[in-house]
């Protein structure tokens, strides 16, 4: 896989993560892997190196999609015994393994949502920021299944990132208001909780979150608004924050006679110390985290 193809793939990951969240992206990537294996035409000798090439590319993505990386590492271990089999057996084995990985992340998400439901109370005014399918499911199920009556403040990013959140809230008639994320200071005193998802939790005590989250978490911390992070343990990374390959982009801007170089980052790093509650599939986990 050449550099250009890698760059294209990583850009696709970033675009998808922005609108789907990293958990949903993991499912989508695994489904894409299954469809690709089904369509692949190659010899028995070629198939394992092709798996390795794609697995290596996924494992080096910018930023790291940690749950996907964990599941791809498991896939590599589990496909190894098939090396001596025929082409179709390897193909069938790969599809079966990948399907179990999809089931695994879906189950993990389901359990986090189950735990998250306990954190929503009637009368809450919950802040939500970027798209997280887990946070979204918690809100929808708490409203629909548990009958909790709460309101949501959506901190607006660009339309594509906020659209999915708004559509889901509209669909189940959860009362909500939308404010630009940079005007949070005017609404924060009314809020009772901040709900977050994450791309990764690192062993050096950071949470990799969508760009803009660090400021919101900081303000909540100062104003003593409890911050809840809902995260599957599949998102716990072995690598420190500086090894998460957060994408850094520099572009030249020229506007109204002003020229400057603009540097942007795809994700934020939030110190875990600012998070009040870390909810995993096993419940509240803050005091049992591995750091």
């Amino acid at each position: 896989m050449n550099e250009k193809d890698r760059e294209n793939l990583y850009k696709l990951f970033r675009d998808q993560a922005d609108v789907l969240g990293s958990s949903r992206l993991t499912v989508v990537a695994l489904q894409s892997f299954v469809a690709s294996v089904k369509a692949l035409r190659c010899s028995r000798e070629e198939i394992m190196p092709l798996f390795k090439e794609l697995a290596d590319a996924i494992k080096n993505s910018q930023p790291h999609i940690v749950p996907l990386i964990h599941l791809i590492e498991e896939f590599e271990d589990e496909i190894e015994p098939f090396t001596e089999e025929g082409l179709e057996a390897i193909r069938a084995g790969a599809i079966r393994i990948l399907e179990t990985k999809i089931a695994k992340i879906e189950e993990s998400k389901r359990r986090v949502v189950q735990q998250g439901l306990r954190q929503v109370e009637s009368g809450d005014l919950i802040l939500v920021h970027a798209v997280s399918t887990v946070v979204l499911k918690i809100l929808v199920r708490a409203h629909e299944e548990l009958g909790r009556r709460f309101e949501v403040i959506v901190l607006e990013q660009d339309f594509n990132k906020t659209r999915q959140l708004l559509q889901a809230l509209d669909r189940v008639s959860i009362p909500h208001e939308v404010i630009p994320e940079y005007t949070l200071s005017h609404a924060i005193r009314r809020a009772t909780k901040l709900f977050l998802g994450a791309t990764a939790v690192t062993p050096d005590g950071h949470v990799v979150t969508p760009a803009g989250t660090a400021n919101i978490v900081s303000l909540c911390h100062v104003e003593q608004i409890p911050v809840y992070l809902f995260v599957s343990t599949l998102k716990f990374s072995h690598k420190p924050s500086e090894a998460q390959q957060i994408h850094r982009k520099e572009e030249h801007r020229s506007r109204e006679g002003l020229c400057y170089d603009l540097t942007t980052y795809s994700h934020c790093l939030v110190p875990i110390a600012l998070i009040d509650h870390v909810i995993t599939e096993d419940g509240e986990a803050k005091h049992s985290l591995p750091f």
């Binding site: 998808q16 789907l20 489904q31 892997f33 794609l54």
Partner: protein
């Protein structure tokens, strides 16, 4: 040609201003008209008489129909469907998108078509690590080819159909064959000259994976989009009604302009769209540009300039019908590559009328030569047609710069091929009918 000097100078200045984009096209044309009115070369009544309201009505009606269709989500549904069908095969992307672009362009305006197709083609091809430029150029070119097949597909045809009184059915009857052959030739040319771009990807797992991710992204965007099915059904129903009324024009005796405007008004009523918003999407400057040009050319016609041009330039070639048809085709093709084909067609219509009256050529073949030349010639350069400019602009916005020369390298060969196909077709028709 008494009193012709001032109108000729004004016409040439307006033409230069349009060609070099010195001022807005509509402003250039209407300023020329205003000067003619101020110096009393014509009066207001005569000026209004020169405007072909059938053309204006047809353009306005079609623009309104397209504005409502765009709002219905029809184009998004269509492009998602094709993207799914290609499954990331570069050859299928070229062939399927070319067929759809050509078909859409035949019934809608070319700019709308490329505005819908080009972004999705760039997304698919760039995501696969292919060079999207080739695919962008192909869609611009094919939109101009497809638009040639019908009366409503391209402005030169609208003008020819309206000014000459050709029916909707005559256009596909006479032009579908060279258009289909030209689209096929374009696909074949790209396939033969850029074989490395069309290698199948089903032996490359990483590329297959990228394509599947892109398709998932496109599907997700589609699912997130709100499509009002009733609105969509009404919009498509009205498009079908317009096409059937165009086709039955000889029975209903309704001109295409009346049909387009009638259907647009029905659409406005039954879909209850925000009419002000829809009217805002009509390209008023284009309509004013048309009106201004009709007046300028009308004055030249009245002063005898057009007849002089026809007799002293075009009829110099003699009365050999083969030579006449081929000269109209190739002059139109080459000039339209560098100048806007709308003013060129408006200028050529009275010239061709003189040629036709001097040496009658059967089956309107001179008009078909003008149509094929003016529409296909738009492919010659990046500035030859609005669809080219819009496609290149969209590619630039998405990070792919297509230079004038890059476009020209592909388009010049394709234009020569398509004009040669048209020449062969017209010669064959002449040989058959004479």
């Amino acid at each position: 040609m008494e009193g012709a000097l001032l109108p000729v100078i004004i016409f040439l200045v307006v033409y230069a201003a349009i060609t070099f984009e010195l001022v807005n096209k509509a402003v250039a044309a209407l300023l020329g008209v205003m000067i003619l009115l101020i110096v009393h070369v014509i009066d207001e009544r005569t000026a209004v008489r020169f405007i072909d309201f059938e053309t204006i009505l047809l353009l306005m009606g079609m623009m309104a129909i397209v504005a409502v269709l765009r709002k219905s989500g029809f184009f998004t549904i269509l492009s998602v469907w094709i993207a799914e069908k290609t499954q990331g095969s570069p050859l299928k992307i070229l062939v399927l998108f070319s067929i759809v672009t050509a078909t859409l362009s035949a019934f809608l305006d070319n700019v709308t078509t490329v505005l819908i197709i080009v972004p999705i083609v760039i997304e698919l091809t760039s995501g696969m690590g292919l060079d999207p430029k080739l695919f962008v150029i192909s869609q611009a070119v094919v939109s101009n080819l497809g638009g040639t097949a019908t009366l409503i597909g391209d402005p030169p045809n609208i003008i020819i159909g309206s000014k000459v009184g050709l029916t909707f059915n005559q256009f596909p009857l006479y032009l579908a064959a060279p258009v289909i052959l030209s689209v096929a030739a374009m696909i074949l040319y790209f396939w033969l000259t850029r074989r490395e771009q069309f290698k199948p990807i089903d032996t490359n797992l990483a590329k297959l994976f990228s394509v599947q991710l892109i398709l998932q992204k496109i599907r997700f965007e589609f699912v997130s989009m709100h499509v009002d099915r009733v609105f969509l059904a009404k919009a498509l129903g009205c498009l079908a009604l317009a096409i059937s009324l165009f086709v039955t024009q000889t029975i209903t005796k309704l001109t295409p302009g009346v049909v387009a405007m009638l259907v647009a008004m029905i659409l406005f009523v039954i879909t209850r769209v925000d009419v002000e918003q829809m009217l805002g999407e009509i390209e008023w400057s284009t309509l004013l540009f048309f009106a201004g040009l009709f007046i300028l050319v009308g004055v030249l016609e009245e002063k005898g300039v057009i007849e002089w041009l026809a007799r002293n330039v075009f009829l110099r070639i003699g009365d050999n019908p083969y030579a006449m048809v081929l000269v109209v085709l190739w002059v139109s093709g080459l000039v339209s590559g560098f100048l806007d084909n709308i003013p060129f067609t408006i200028t050529m219509i009275p010239i061709v009328k003189v040629m036709q009256s001097t040496t009658p050529i059967p089956h309107d073949l001179l008009w078909w030569a003008l149509s094929l030349g003016a529409c296909f010639g738009g492919n010659l350069t990046m500035i030859g047609a609005s669809a080219n400019i819009v496609s290149v602009g969209m590619a630039r916005k998405l990070g792919y710069e297509i230079t004038f020369l890059e476009f020209f390298r592909s388009s010049v060969v394709i234009t020569l091929i398509t004009l040669t196909i048209s020449s062969a077709y017209l010669v064959l028709m002449l040989w058959f009918f004479l």
